[in-house]
């Protein structure tokens, strides 16, 4: 994903958070801080300074954490990232999502346009 894509992801997340409660936004900020400092003991660096593999390992540990508060915190962050990412029309197109208000008729038109017939 290019720079513009990331900006788009961030903007969508910000927009989603705009109408959420201040308490929820505070919790998220705190969680991001915790996440950033958590790897310091094991890796000697903050999360933001880690490579992709080490980051994934930290996140996996968070996801399986025995503490519910950390698991649900991770789940919340993950949900926001997925919202930002799959909220973008480019991402939906890339995975082949094609729902259209015009339903069957619209699908027949686009499929005929593509010259293939995968209809039921």
């Amino acid at each position: 994903m290019d720079e513009r894509g990331w900006t788009d992801v961030e903007e969508r997340i910000e927009a989603a958070l705009r109408n959420r409660s201040p308490a929820l936004r505070r919790q998220l900020c705190l969680l991001i801080q915790v996440l950033d400092w958590m790897p310091l003991l094991r890796y000697g660096r903050r999360f933001s300074a880690l490579g992709a593999e080490a980051r994934a390992a930290v996140l996996r540990r968070l996801q399986r954490s025995p503490a519910l508060v950390l698991r649900r915190g991770f789940w919340g962050l993950r949900t926001l990232v997925l919202l930002g990412y799959y909220g973008r029309p480019e991402a939906r197109r890339a995975i082949g999502y094609r729902a259209d208000p015009g339903g069957w008729e619209a699908r027949r038109r686009t499929t005929a346009g593509e010259g293939k017939g995968d209809e039921a």
Partner: protein, 522 residues
Amino acid sequence: MIERSYDVVIVGSGAGGGTAAVGLVPLVEQGHRVLVLEQGPRLADEEFTGEELEMAEALYADAGGFLTADGTMTLAFGQVYGGSTAVYTGTSLIAGPHVIEAWDIPGLTHTDVTERSRQYMDQNNVHLLEPELINENNSLFQKGCEAAGYEAHQFPINVKGCLGSSLCNLGCPNGAKQGTDRVQLPAAELCGVEVVTRAEVLRLEERAAMVRVSEKPPSEKGAPSEWEPGEYRVSARMVVLAGGAVGSPALLLRSGFGEHLPRLGERFTCHPALILVAEHPRPITNDVGHPKSFFVDRADEEGYVLETCMYFPFVTAKSLVGFGEEHSRFMAAFPRLQMILVLACDRATPGNRVTIDGAGRPVVHYRFTDEVVRALALGTRASARIFFAAGALRVHAPLASPTTLGAGEADRIDERVRPEHFTPGTVSVSAAHLMGGCAMGRSERDSVTDGWGRVHGIPWLRVADSSLFPDSLHINPYLTIMALADRTAEAIRLDAGELLAAGAEAGGGETEVAGGGPAATA
């Protein structure tokens, strides 16, 4: 504070509120004034675009992200003209006799629920979708059930002119789904019932609602409110609560009714559900066609119901456990995905209840019982069998570790999918069938209302929504909610002479309600 005065005020315009509104038209015809207050907006037809995030923000409470108190389950409910009926799928089932009988509510019989449900099935054009309009996401479920030995039934649905956009849960872009927003509310408005949107009832007082009418934010969908923005005191001879299983108990609690009604907020159930996804070797029609045609009912035997379903990219991504390569692989296979919803038939359980926080906002406490987790595991096993029998290559099973089951593991499903793998906070559980909170029963010792939606000891206050359920229904609830709201409306019509004439004094103390007709008043 602006003062207004009505004979009957209905709070909420969903399955219950819409039914109550149309059920009280005879009072309007007698010259009484009936008002519906809805906190959500009223959208124009062209504003239903089917865009996932945009529509979720416009139609759902918390944009569809309302979480239970410990953050382990998402509750989906509408906050718009038509309430959750604007976003439901429209599957229309009549409650089973054993469920209604087990509720054991004086005066509530299965025959009565059936007759009233049928009336709304007629109004809402309920029928079976024509076979040629059923997509492969649904037909593969049926085929898989046949091969794996499960009995699939076809859902009757309430559509008229359905184009098969698959977007029901984002609000129908074609006005085809026959929710209260399309049928009962417009009919009631045509007959003189007033509906005011963007009007949140903050608190109830003795025969009055304190209401805040909000300005339409410039970037939001929907029309401005029918009333000028501001704070209102709406006096009413009768108030009918139809704010849903979260909204109604929360409103009563923040209005201070908890002391008189000790059972307020209790008996909350919701059919906790898992969205399961499987990948086929070829593209199937999944994001075109009506999303929900079949179900398997194993409620009595194993505590779960399976339904076909189809979700949108973000909700699908959220439902898959984990992140990284495996997650992306499933998402990238979107045109080849088949989906099944596993619903656990939960039971009213002490502790699972609606309360309010310091600011009066609803808080839903919900703990997954062992029975619910077991039902989710059994339902996942059954779904995996159905997926593989239908030809799927891989199944994402949140209650397996690791979560992906390959077709080669089809004979190890029971071993791989286990209740112990259910980790709250890691597995995405959601619920859209919210029930209870102002449960029906016999007296304030065990419930909030009688079998006709009359709040114990408070003759001017009635309930007409899903919060009336004393326990979960085990099937999709909207028709039963309409049937119960229809009973509430009937009781109001019967009691109206006395209550609307003078505004009778509020009753007090404990009232034991015998069975019988709606005239057996509190």
